[in-house]
């Protein structure tokens, strides 16, 4: 019953946050691209929280933008609120977070896909891959359509053998009662992939009309206009607030007395859930000394009354969920619109991937997003763009793009996945990045625009603007390093006003800027340069002020790069290396790291094993034991 449905360069299976970035990147780079989704109404759907960004994640969104991705632009067009987080801390951990209008976010993204050249968006449920001699040639849908392509990117999200669980109830389903993808999971196992079962969950939604906001605290957006994309010039000023309330002792009592009906505790759920995302019942059991838990009320959009009850993720039965709402100040009379649920799904063990996100098992097959064991829209999008780029480069016969840990959070994310694997849904945290100070929210463009341009995702016009900005920063830093500030009465007055001690002798403006209490604005009063824009001023201030710390991290990066440059052959026989610990042999055999640096990050491989690898490498012995 199958039919030949056409030939493409790249096929992307799935149109969630990973899928859309993969499809857009591939099409924009010139590959004839097909994007297949189970349901066209689910393009860029947000099945859980209505927000984008936050610490680490927000930086990923900016990185996506610098690489030519879509997420930043799309949220800039469709948010209802934006905030800069961690403003009281250092520049490295500042991050934007936006509350999204979910429906608008979807329709804007869908429109972008529909109007992108080289890109075909189509509804279709992929059940099998066409694999010949270990090489992926295409996909087959449930309707029998056989599509052929050089590269295939799988982004199946939580659809893969998805199962929703609410209390005692369980049924096969994708997110939010979407049709699940069952066959593909079995097919992947047939192909030899190791699969794991993960679990995630979502809280209930309630009707805004029925919330008593008077007993909650308001959480407004920032007054200053903000945007994720470096290119955004129009800002949304009309913002909606979120609200904060807390669980009560009654909530805890109620949950404790209904624990036996929770699938997590009755043993019905087999999947591994993330520790950072526990359900409310988990929180109450594990942290029973905490008297109350925060509950944030987040609107799901401008044209809906649905409100997301953040902090109340649960898989308790629907009737218990309704009773829980009654115990929370402000929600006593809240009408439940959708019940919270837990969802189990299949993911592949990500150590089966090369750092390019191509699978080791099947050539030409790439995977991204929750299928690789991550959690979060941003994490999915970050992998999506890399998978899309590399799927396209495969078609073009070019080497894959791999971002290293000092270049981007996306690099940290992918390196962690393919090197260490994960035994729970993986979430990015700033602490996962060892070069956090280099991976800032403010410098994502400086880090990645060059690469985005080189691979063909950043148009020349934008690149020119970027080069100009970069040059202005360099010029202003240079100027401040040579500009001497003299202890004039005027200068001393400015210093005193800024709460700083007076100058005893002349000092360069750069050195003065290193004083913790001195900002670029203060310097500008002493030695104005009207041509400097705010974004340039911000860079100048950060780069000068924290130069000491930045240099320290750069030195570490240098050391890391040395280890990365010691390449290991893909097909090295670790079992033939004398002296490696058995565990190290097994792990290295499984991961097949491409460099000693990557090998050193494989869990179970200790420094002694690395010394031995280095000894072998130094002695040229590795050549002898390649298979």
């Amino acid at each position: 019953m199958g039919y030949n449905a056409g030939n493409f360069d790249v096929i992307v299976v799935g149109a969630g946050h990973a899928g859309v970035e993969a499809a857009l990147a591939s099409a924009r780079m010139g590959a004839k691209t097909l994007c297949l989704t189970i349901n066209l109404d689910a393009v860029a759907y947000m099945p859980c929280n209505p927000s984008v960004g936050g610490p680490a994640k927000g930086i990923v969104v900016r990185e996506l933008d610098a690489l030519g991705g879509e997420m930043a632009r799309n949220i800039d067009k469709t948010h209802i609120q934006m905030r800069m987080l961690n403003t009281g801390k250092g520049p490295a951990v500042r991050a934007l977070r936006a509350q999204a209008d979910k429906v608008l976010y979807q329709s804007e993204m869908k429109k972008t896909l529909e109007t992108t050249e080289n890109l075909t968006l189509r509804q279709g449920l992929v059940e099998r891959l066409i694999v010949e001699d270990g090489v992926c040639k295409g996909v087959i849908t449930k309707t029998g359509a056989q599509y052929y392509a050089t590269s295939v990117v799988l982004t199946t999200g939580t659809y893969l053998r998805g199962k929703i669980i609410i209390g005692e109830l369980a049924y096969e389903s994708g997110p939010n009662n979407m049709q699940p993808s069952i066959e593909l999971s079995y097919h992947l196992q047939e192909l030899g992939f190791n699969m794991v079962r993960f679990k995630t969950g979502t809280p209930p939604r309630v009707n805004s009309h029925t919330i008593d906001y008077s007993v909650t605290e308001i959480q407004p957006g920032d007054d200053v206009p903000r945007a994720f994309s470096y290119e955004t010039v129009e800002f949304i000023t009309d913002q909606l607030p979120c609200w904060l309330t807390y669980t009560s002792p009654k909530t805890h009592e109620l949950i404790n007395s209904n624990l036996h009906r929770s699938p997590m505790y009755s043993g019905m759920i087999e999947g591994t859930g993330p520790r950072y995302c526990p359900s409310i019942e988990d929180k109450i059991v594990r942290f029973n000394d905490k008297p109350r838990h925060q509950i944030f009320l987040e609107p799901e959009g401008r044209n809906t009354e649905e409100v997301y009850v953040q902090g109340l993720s649960t898989s308790l039965p629907e009737d218990v969920q309704r009773k829980i709402l009654e115990t929370i100040p402000g929600l006593e009379k809240a009408e439940l619109m959708r019940a919270g649920y837990a969802i189990e799904y299949d993911a592949i063990v990500p150590t089966q991937l090369w750092p390019s996100l191509e699978t080791k098992l099947v050539e030409g097959l790439f995977t991204a997003g929750q299928l690789n064991g991550t959690s979060g829209y941003e994490e999915a999008a970050g992998q999506g763009i890399i998978a899309g780029i590399n799927a396209c480069r495969k078609v073009q016969g070019k080497d894959p793009i791999v971002l290293d840990r000092s270049q981007a959070y996306i690099g940290v994310l992918i390196d962690d996945l393919v090197t260490k694997g994960t035994n729970e849904p993986y979430r990015l945290l700033t602490s996962r990045a060892e070069y956090r100070l280099l991976l800032r929210h403010d410098n994502a463009d400086l880090r990645l625009t060059e690469i985005g341009h080189e691979i063909g995702l950043i148009p020349n016009e934008r690149y020119e603007r970027f080069l100009k900005k970069r040059e202005e920063i360099a010029r202003e830093i240079e100027r401040l390093e040579h500009e001497s500030i003299k202890p004039t009465a005027e200068v001393q007055a400015i210093l005193e006003e800024a709460g700083s001690s007076p100058l005893k002798e002349p000092m360069t403006a750069a050195n003065l800027l290193k004083r913790p209490e001195i900002t670029y604005d203060v310097i500008a009063k002493m030695t104005p340069n009207p041509s400097v824009s705010d974004v340039v001023a911000e860079q100048v201030e950060i780069q000068i002020k924290y130069a000491g710390y930045i240099d320290k991290q750069l030195a570490q990066v240098e050391r890391m790069r040395k280890m990365e440059s010691k390449k290991l052959p893909e097909d090295l026989d670790y079992f033939a290396i004398n002296g490696l610990a058995t565990e190290a042999k097994q792990k290295l055999h499984e991961v097949r790291p491409l460099s000693v640096g990557q090998a050193s990050r494989v869990s179970g491989v200790n420094p002694a094993d690395i010394s031995i690898l280095l000894i072998y490498l130094e002695q040229g012995k590795l050549a002898k034991i390649e298979r």
């Binding site: 961690n86 250092g90 520790r275 953040q310 700033t430 209490e517 004398n578 610990a581 869990s603 010394s611």
Partner: protein, 458 residues
């Protein structure tokens, strides 16, 4: 196993002691068998057994040595290779003869530390254990042996582990403020951070203090005997050596370039530095003067200053006191068997807080008291080595110093009012560096800490 078979003397040598010559490698048993004559050939004995017999020189067919031979087959051995240990008489001559026999019959002389290196390369031990083993091999006294053993058993690991946990909790706290800015955890303040870091800095300093002693235990207390000619310096040295059995050993382990002398005085290893040098300084005061002698003394950990009971104090004696000011000194007034001509009140005055011992080396009197004084001085009134963790490894000392630097930089950052996430860079480095001491730098434990310490979620 592609390695050849290596041999070396694996115990420090001393007159009358038992010495062990160790063989490791595929040919260890066959090589030993070529020389050994016992009840049955070593090839037929069970692993991890010990056998009495004689070593026969195959060339002359003459018995060379009476020995006990242990056979330990791979992989349950120190190097994970076949190991044979030959226990023989500890005399320099006999032990060397055994070694020479093995070398003539197919073994290769091990390089310094090569057994450990093999153990390491065969995955037998990790780096920090390997370093402790190296120290173990070099340990010159029983007490030093204990320190090395303790280190292996993880006393240092435990101590450092506690500090790491404190740092980890602090880091997790900072992290939760960063990654969950809206979470209702107490904000980590500069004040709070300062308090924690001061504590860690103090603890690292304490560990480092023991490092000095650890180093001394391993290397011996470098000891100089000084005094005017003919006060009995040579007699004093001979007495110490005779009483305590001089240990003649080689620093590098197997090569015989430099010979040093060690004596073990009640658990305190004394390294009689540059014995020839000390003898040449017989007339140190007259010949090179106080300035120069100060230079020589600078290297010493302990000074034994010898005066003559039978002569009155000279300006040279007084100059000696000046030269050793501020150092660890024991004053010895020798020749109490002769008439007193020295002004003891003046001596007591000059000696001040230094222990003052009177001896008659000729009559072998007072040596006990001297030993007691040395022991007391070293253990500073009852520091029991068993309860202490001596950091006896220079790599560990370097790492601890590095960690301390990072903590101090973090403290400096706090003082400068830098953002807490910047300060944290140094805290994390300190945590990582301490991890290198115990061989654990897995950052995943931070994530674990984060989620076990705080209740986070959607």
């Amino acid at each position: 196993m592609e390695y050849d078979t290596i041999a070396a003397i694996s115990t420090p040598m001393g007159e009358g002691a038992i010495a062990i010559v160790r063989l490791s490698g595929q040919e260890a048993v066959p090589i030993a068998d070529r020389l050994f004559k016992g009840k049955k050939p070593l090839a037929e004995v069970d692993s991890h057994t010990i056998h009495y017999g004689k070593l026969i020189d195959p060339k002359t067919n003459q018995p060379v040595e009476e020995v006990m031979v242990s056979v330990m087959r791979a992989p349950r051995t120190f190097t994970r290779e076949d190991v044979v240990e030959i226990n023989c008489h500890g005399g320099l001559v006999s032990v060397n003869r055994v070694l020479q026999l093995l070398l003539q019959n197919g073994a290769r002389l091990a390089e310094p530390g090569e057994f450990t290196k093999r153990a390491f390369l065969n995955g037998r031990i990790d780096l920090s254990q390997a370093e402790a083993v190296i120290d173990l091999i070099r340990a010159k006294t029983d007490r030093a042996m204990n320190v090395a053993l303790n280190q292996m058993q993880g006393r240092l690991s435990k101590l450092v582990g506690h500090l790491r946990q404190t740092l980890l909790e602090t880091i997790a706290h900072v992290e939760v403020n960063i990654d969950y800015p809206e979470y209702d955890a107490e904000e980590m303040t500069h004040g709070l951070l300062n308090e924690k870091l001061q504590f860690v800095a103090e603890e690292i300093k304490k560990i480092l203090l023991t490092a000095e002693q650890g180093k001394i235990l391993r290397e011996g207390l470098s000891t100089a005997i000084i005094g005017r000619p003919n006060v009995g310096k040579s007699s004093l040295m001979n007495a110490l050596v005779h009483e305590n059995k001089a240990i003649v050993t080689d620093v590098a382990g197997t090569t015989r370039d430099i010979i040093e002398e060690y004596v073990n005085v009640r658990g305190v290893p004394l390294r009689l530095v540059d014995t020839a040098g000390i003898r040449e300084t017989e007339d140190i005061v007259e010949k090179i003067g106080v300035e120069k002698s100060r230079q020589v003394l600078k290297e010493a950990d302990l000074i034994l200053l010898v005066l003559n009971f039978h002569e009155s104090l000279s300006p040279e004696d007084e100059n000696l006191f000046k030269a050793v000011k501020g150092m660890d000194v024991i004053v010895i007034v020798n020749k109490t068997d002769l008439d007193q001509k020295i002004d003891m009140d003046r001596v007591k005055n000059l000696a001040g807080d230094y222990p003052l011992i009177t001896t008659s080396l000729l009559k072998e009197e007072g040596i006990d008291r001297l030993e007691q004084a040395i022991s007391e001085l070293f253990f500073k009134g009852g520091i029991e080595s068993q309860d202490m963790t001596y950091v006896s490894n220079s790599r560990h000392i370097a790492l601890l110093n590095q960690a301390l630097n990072h903590v101090e930089e973090a403290l400096h950052g706090i003082e400068m009012n830098l953002p807490i996430d910047m300060v944290q860079i140094d805290i994390t480095r300190a945590w990582e560096v301490l991890g290198e001491v115990v061989g654990d730098t897995v950052s995943e434990s931070l994530i674990d800490q984060l989620f076990s310490q705080f209740c986070l979620g959607k």
